[in-house]
């Protein structure tokens, strides 16, 4: 079941990040075609028809997002490329930026042409020094070739791309916080409406797309909608990179068609659970998504099927947990992360995640009290859906899911002041 590779086609070529190699491999053809043959609305229509969905986590149709941008405000329109890849377990955008940055730049060019933007910003997370250097170098190469700047490919279209690195905050991957940070402010999320498409960066219409979303555009225009739709499912077309980690034999990034069964990724590509141990649970789409249980391992990896299974495809970070893992400990690690990364803007997330952290740590440390589980769940009710951005929800969803599926382990911890699972689990 060998799958066609789009992002990873030249993953083994050590020179793929260089512009000449990229061109040799057929790069920058799509954008030339687009600039010559398409009018901007036709680009948007094509992207709509291709059905490509945002790869940042929410899976929002990209073409539809672009079509929300008002073209008559008299203000400039911006593209912000979200390269603040911070969801624990996720490392897919990093590979694109490191190995094939021109694919991203070409995608940015197509998008900007479609939405009539002349400035694009690539917001790269602060810790990504090497990917940022690669992207920066690629942007410089593109300028040198005249692919960026004024009158690109003689089409009269101008575009400037600015690479900006963040200060290292998870919240800046949330689109409105990303905009605040890009503007030079503290990375705080903002209430919506107004949505960024209407009032985003510097109060101007702004499209925010994930790296993988933008990088998938050249292939769509190279090979056509039909080809694109031949991958994936009706509602979730195309290929996607999954970042496989946790207790598997061969962790790593794998590109597969959407709709590929989870079991294929874990067992065939990932070589199965480490040392043949028993599978305990799977986090399918980044650490904020609810757990899938072993009996759900055949769930197809597309947006609808994973949602139907009670979780989310999210950013495509699959974390495999085997039988040795204490789920109280695992949840503690997650909640510590979310409490640490809460931006501090809205009350339920700022105070609530910190309280959850205290409570869950208490249980893990053998100091849990009767009623703590109920208190955690009640606090969750006061956080979820009450916050400005999804960070609060992101902390609550795994908390609820872990307690729902493994309540016995939490109760055991409170009663016996130790793990129910006797393990030699690493990291603990």
């Amino acid at each position: 079941m060998a799958q066609e590779q789009v992002f990873f086609k030249y993953i083994d070529d050590p020179n793929q990040h260089k512009i000449d190699t990229y061109i040799e491999h057929g790069g920058y053809q799509a954008v030339q075609k687009v600039l010559k043959e398409y009018k901007p609305p036709e680009v948007i229509d094509t992207v709509k028809e291709s059905g490509v969905r945002g790869r940042g986590g929410a899976g929002f149709p990209a073409g539809l997002k672009w079509s929300f941008v008002p073209q008559n405000t008299g203000k400039p329109i911006y593209l912000a490329c979200n390269a603040d890849e911070s969801e624990p377990g996720t490392c897919k955008d990093r590979v694109i930026m490191e190995n094939d940055p021109h694919m991203l730049i070409e995608g940015i060019m197509i998008c900007c042409y479609a939405i009539n933007a002349h400035h694009a910003f690539i917001y790269i997370r602060g810790e990504f020094a090497f990917p940022a250097a690669r992207v920066e170098a690629a942007v410089n190469e593109a300028y040198e070739k005249g692919y960026l700047g004024k009158n690109i490919f003689g089409s009269g279209f101008d575009l400037d791309v600015i690479v900006h690195t963040g200060g290292g905050a998870y919240i800046c991957g949330e689109e409105t916080a990303l905009l605040s940070s890009l503007e030079g402010s503290r990375g705080n999320s903002r209430i919506r409406p107004p949505f960024p498409a209407v009032e985003g960066l510097y109060k101007c219409p702004t499209v925010i797309n994930n790296v993988e979303t933008l990088a998938s555009l050249p292939s769509i225009f190279d090979k056509g909608i039909e080809w694109y739709r031949s991958h994936g499912t009706e509602k979730s077309p195309g290929t996607k990179i999954f970042s496989l980690s946790g207790n598997v034999n061969k962790p790593g990034n794998y590109e597969v068609d959407l709709g590929t069964p989870l079991s294929y990724v874990i067992n065939e590509l990932g070589g199965g659970v480490q040392d043949g141990r028993k599978l305990k649970a799977i986090i399918p789409g980044g650490s904020s998504t609810p757990l899938l249980m072993p009996d759900q391992i055949d769930t197809p990896l597309d947006y609808e099927s994973v949602a139907a299974a009670g979780s989310m495809l999210g950013s495509g970070a699959i974390i495999v947990i085997d039988e040795r893992c204490c789920m109280v400990w695992a949840l503690m690690k997650l909640i510590n992360f979310y409490a640490h990364e809460s931006c501090g803007r809205c009350t339920p997330c700022r105070e609530g995640t910190a309280w959850l952290k205290q409570l869950i740590n208490r249980i893990e440390n053998g100091e849990g009290k009767q009623g703590d589980i109920e208190l955690i769940l009640d606090a969750c009710d006061n956080i979820i859906g009450r916050t400005i951005c999804p960070l609060g929800d992101a902390a609550v969803m795994p908390t609820r899911s872990f307690i729902e599926h493994f309540r016995d382990e939490f109760e055991y911890h409170i009663e016996h002041k130790k793990c129910k699972v006797k393990t030699d689990y690493p990291f603990v």
Partner: protein, 851 residues
């Protein structure tokens, strides 16, 4: 841009089962408030952008997937909102529980207790049991190694993070309204700390507001904290007694003293924001240094006396001079922060009873005659400008004004117009000002060339045919009367590129609703009438609406005094009103203005002056002249709150009540008559200006026959009766740049004026303001400092033809070039000794030994 009277679209919705129709764009919170439904908030403020952070104002909206923040959700037709459903009450209780997790619950010792939003909401929602069983979070402060407890983060502001609910109102106020960045949020999550940036403190001019808008006891100020409980203090509606904007304040006081001033929001004036001078500038009334009994000069020494002795002496001498030398030998001067009633009575006493026209209130300016007789100046000075109208401005030119300092409220309104409505701002000043950060172009003209600047702008308008509704012949006729004669010449003299004149001219001409506002640099200039001519011509050339071109007055009652005729020579309409009221003509003799009075004293034509609430010895910008005159005066009476440089020369000193110790009114720059209530009565031995005038008049058997109510009414009538003749749009005046004197030995132009945190000579008695600026300084540009190898804090000798002073240097990034500034708010430093009419304020400097 506001809708200029256009009908707004209406939206009907239902809140808690009650239907309401409101303007489109209204938030659910505002609509609920209109229905009398209270929705609790922490982070919401009517004048700040909503950020929906505290989540207290959540409401349930039918068909919405989850509760919405009512502070930021706009009404939609047919919306069905519940503010009190079970879900919402649980959400709010949840928020309160979260906020209390790490709150110290120290209400009994917290200064905010009794006026705390958190206390009120917790009480309302009945959160009386805590599920929190952890040690409360205390973040260790890096500087003090104390936990979250009190930390001083500015001259006035003290922060206690334990109590903070992280609503960000303080930070947002600073950034959105004041345009300041000396307060920020640091760290993240529940470790978020509100603090000044490292190495800085929150000391901006509007910083007091952050304390007032703090919903809890996290931000308090030295002024008020731990002194009196808010529910014990009484309140009096008052008005700031310093600058001319007329900020509305509430004075809090008890039987001992005034305790604080808070804003009394008036959307037409201040929108609920106070500058630090309005907030802390009341404190001089509390001072222990107040005069409490009259002084009489005996054998060259002032000794305490009774009121009877003092009044009898005044009466004896006044009578003596009046009868033997004539009324023209008497004069009266009054300070700009006396109530309009006091001024009216003062005027009536001197003009109608003592029969002298030697009256003035402008004690800080020279060469008043030229502007008194200048139609352009008077027309622009009395222009019907409205602060709120700036919100509809598309282009605003701030001319010769350090706007933040001169007009704190107008400055904030301008910033609002800039931020919210895209108003474009240009500034033209002799030094760089704070307004630069919102200006498209900040033009700095060479000292004393403001007239040339207006000439240049006129040329730019004419040369580019940007004028409106005027025929070319008339324009050509005017152009011939402008000097410098060309744009190039004017530009060269001002040191501003021609292109910038042209760009500004085009912007003003293209604008639908342009404004030109001039301030204190113009008013203080002795050539103000020439510059006013230029501004008048520009306003007419560009057909700028009457209220949009204005010279703004500078003291609390500048405009009020103008209305009630506190000038020597009355404008016709004022004269008519006064004669009607008094039933007899005003004296026919020519009156002398401030400078003429001082001159006449030296010429032995005036023998006695009564100065009420003013300190010309310190503030008149020609020290040698005014001091010689005051020394020479035969009989000087000074009524004031404190012993001053002026009172030290007086034959009789009378203790005068402060503005808060009586009721009265100020008329602000807009001509807005605003009353202030009496707060605490003055201490025994102190009389109000009105009482003093009555006492003297009665003892002279020239009774004024006006009780307080009658006086108030009569004054109001006079103020209201004033009708300004609209600007004559058919007129043009000659514009001629004055010769700039030779000053080879004294190469640097010294500007004196108010420090940002001081106003006049009284604020030296306000401890809070002294915390911001405790001592005078020489403000100097880094370039000039480098030339003399002067570093910040070094002692520098400043010398003019008339005097010398030694001051600490303050290097200021605001300053470019060869202009110096010294504040004239400190009695111990006689800045005006450096300045005379002849030398025009030119000085040289010399570095003294290091440090």
């Amino acid at each position: 841009m506001s809708d200029n009277g256009k009908e707004k679209e209406q939206v009907t919705l239902t809140i808690d089962g009650r239907e309401i129709t409101v303007d489109k764009g209204t938030t659910v919170l505002e609509a609920a408030t209109q229905l009398g439904i209270h929705i609790p908030t922490f982070c919401w403020h009517p004048k700040l952008d909503s950020i929906g952070a505290c989540r207290m104002c959540l409401v349930a909206v039918e068909k919405f997937p989850k509760p919405a923040v009512s502070c930021a959700t706009e009404v939609m037709p047919g919306m069905i909102v519940r503010t009190d459903s079970e879900e919402i009450v649980k959400a709010r209780r949840g928020v309160l529980e979260f906020l209390l997790l790490n709150h110290p619950l120290d209400c009994p010792t917290c200064d905010k207790g009794g006026e705390c939003d958190l206390q009120d909401n917790v009480f309302h929602y009945g959160i009386d049991k805590s599920r929190q069983t952890f040690t409360r979070l205390r973040v260790v402060d890096e500087d003090t190694h104390t936990t979250f407890d009190d930390k001083r983060i500015g001259p006035e502001v003290i922060r206690n993070m334990n109590r903070c609910v992280t609503c960000y109102k303080c930070v947002r106020f600073n950034k959105e309204i004041a345009g300041e960045y000396d307060l920020g949020a640091y760290e993240r999550g529940n470790h978020t700390v509100i603090d000044a940036p490292p190495g800085e403190q929150i000391d901006n001019f509007y910083s007091g507001n952050v304390v007032e808008i703090c919903p809890v006891g996290a931000l308090t100020n030295t002024d008020w904290r731990y002194k009196v409980r808010n529910w014990i203090a009484k309140q009096a509606a008052s008005i700031c007694s310093h600058d001319a904007d007329g900020q509305n304040i509430t004075l809090w006081y008890d039987q001992r003293q005034l305790w604080r001033a808070t804003s009394r929001r008036n959307d037409e004036v201040d929108e609920g924001w106070l500058c630090n001078i309005a907030r802390y500038g009341y404190q001089y009334v509390n001072s222990q240094d107040r005069l409490t009994q009259p002084l009489i000069k005996k054998e060259g020494k002032q000794v305490p006396a009774t009121w009877d002795e003092a009044i009898s002496l005044i009466v004896k001498r006044f009578k003596d001079i009046k009868e033997n030398k004539g009324s023209v030998c008497l004069a009266g001067l009054i300070g700009g922060n006396q109530s309009v009633e006091t001024a009216y009575l003062f005027n009536k006493f001197f003009r109608n009873k003592l029969k002298t026209n030697n009256l003035d209130y402008r004690l800080e300016y020279i060469d008043l005659k030229s502007s008194d007789e200048n139609e352009a100046y008077n027309s622009l000075y009395r222009a019907p400008f409205k602060i709120a109208s700036l919100e509809n401005a598309d282009v605003v030119l701030i001319f010769a004004s350090n706007f933040i300092k001169d007009h704190p409220s107008v400055n904030l309104r301008l910033r609002k117009a800039y931020r919210k409505f895209g108003t474009q701002v240009y500034t033209v000043n002799p030094v760089e000002t704070k307004s630069a950060d919102i200006s498209i172009d900040e033009m700095i003209y060479a000292p004393d060339t403001e007239t040339a600047f207006t000439a240049g702008l006129i040329h730019a308008i004419i040369d580019n045919k940007l004028y409106k509704n005027i025929d070319d012949a008339k324009v050509a006729e005017m152009k011939a009367k402008i000097s410098p004669a060309t744009l190039a010449d004017a530009a060269k003299l001002c040191g501003v590129d021609e292109d910038r004149f042209t760009a500004l001219a085009k912007k003003l001409s293209d604008a639908n609703n342009p404004f030109i506002l001039a301030g204190d640099f113009l008013v203080a200039s002795s050539k103000r009438h020439r510059t006013a001519n230029g501004l008048f011509n520009i306003a007419n050339l560009l057909n700028i609406p009457d209220g949009n071109a204005a010279i703004l007055g500078s003291q609390a009652n500048s405009i009020g005094f103008d209305r009630v005729g506190m000038r020597p020579n009355l404008p016709e309409q004022v004269k008519k009103i006064l004669e009607e009221k008094w039933g007899e003509p005003v004296p026919a003799s020519a009156g002398s203005n401030t400078s003429q009075i001082f001159k006449n004293i030296l010429d032995e034509e005036i023998d006695s002056v009564f100065i009420m609430g003013a300190n010309p010895a310190m503030r008149y910008p020609d020290g040698p002249f005014v001091n010689a005159s005051l020394e020479k005066i035969d009989f000087l009476v000074v009524a004031d709150l404190f012993e001053t440089a002026t009172s030290s020369k007086a034959d009789v000193v009378l203790p005068l009540a402060g503005w808060s110790e009586q009721s009265g009114a100020y008329v602000n720059i807009e001509g807005r008559y605003q009353r202030f209530e009496k707060a605490l009565a003055p201490k025994a031995g102190i009389k109000t200006g009105i009482e003093i005038i009555h006492a003297i008049a009665d003892a002279m058997e020239l009774p004024l026959d006006l009780n307080l109510a009658e006086l108030t009414k009569e004054t109001k009538d006079v103020v209201d009766a004033f009708e300004r003749v609209p600007r004559d749009t058919g007129k043009f005046f000659e514009v001629k740049q004055a010769q700039i004197p030779e000053h080879a030995d004294y190469p640097y132009r010294l500007i004196i004026g108010n420090d940002l945190h001081h106003f006049g000579y009284l604020t030296e008695h306000c401890p809070s303001l002294m915390r911001f600026t405790p001592e005078p300084y020489l403000e100097i540009s880094p370039n000039l400092a480098e030339k003399f190898e002067i570093e910040d804090g070094m002692l520098v000798r400043v010398e003019s033809a008339t005097g010398k002073l030694v001051l600490k240097a303050k290097l200021s990034e605001h300053f470019e070039g060869e202009v110096l500034f010294i504040p004239n708010n400190f009695a111990a430093t006689e800045v005006n000794s450096l300045i005379s009419r002849e030398n025009g304020g030119w000085v040289k400097i010399e570095k003294l030994d290091d440090k």
